[in-house]
């Protein structure tokens, strides 16, 4: 077999639709034998928080307020036409109806296909979070140097 190709995705956005794009590429690439890394930073961290609804996690009052407002997996907004959080639910229903994988299914597929999930050390620090605040599939908390190291020789996408 040929040498494994590699793709590394930086998920900066915490938008529902952009997370779908990231996980579609990630699971699709993993299914065709790519090594896949996703590096979650800033708003993107909301996708992989262990607590899926709004919760005041984190150290320090301001961090707790921020985390509450940012929310978790269930609060990811649509990047356009969000309608106060109604649209992601409508969109998920539409996806089910049309037999397109939902975000949850895409994330599960990515995990089953051994996509590597990493969280950004710097933004976690700002938000007063720690590794335990994220789903256990998050492999490691790391910085940009390690990310560059991991993504070397492959393609990088910033979403």
């Amino acid at each position: 077999m040929v040498e494994k190709k590699k793709i590394s995705i930086v998920l900066f956005s915490g938008d529902f639709d952009k997370a779908i794009a990231a996980f579609t590429i990630a699971s699709g690439a993993a299914a065709v034998n790519y090594d896949v890394n996703i590096f979650f930073t800033f708003w993107g961290l909301n996708v992989i928080k262990k607590i899926k609804h709004r919760n005041a996690t984190g150290k320090g009052l301001l961090a707790r307020v921020f985390n509450y407002l940012m929310g978790g997996f269930k609060n990811l907004p649509l990047s356009r036409l969000n309608f106060a959080g109604l649209s992601p639910k409508l969109m998920t229903n539409l996806m089910r109806k049309r037999n397109v994988a939902t975000l949850e299914e895409l994330i599960n597929a990515a995990i089953q296909l051994n996509v590597n999930l990493y969280a950004c050390e710097m933004s976690i620090n700002i938000l007063g979070l720690e590794k335990d605040d994220f789903i256990p599939e998050v492999r490691e908390i790391l910085g940009v140097a390690k990310f560059l190291n991991l993504s070397e020789g492959g393609e990088i996408l910033f979403i």
């Binding site: 699709g28 299914a31 597929a109």
Partner: protein
Amino acid sequence: MKTFKLDITKEHCPMTFVKTKLELEKLSKGDILEVVLKEGEPLENVPKTVTEQGNKVLEIKNIQDDIFLVIIEKG
């Protein structure tokens, strides 16, 4: 050697080849996977990607209108 069946006629990208890959992972070398799929994207991609991953496409049959059967031997 066992034969397994997978119907992905209702799936869309990327789940067509994601489900095929996950199913193939459960099989042992030499097992047969019969995938039922639609023409277009799945028919173009599934045989190609499974071959790239060291499996063998034994046969592709048109079984009904736009529905195809792809017989894969796990490598």
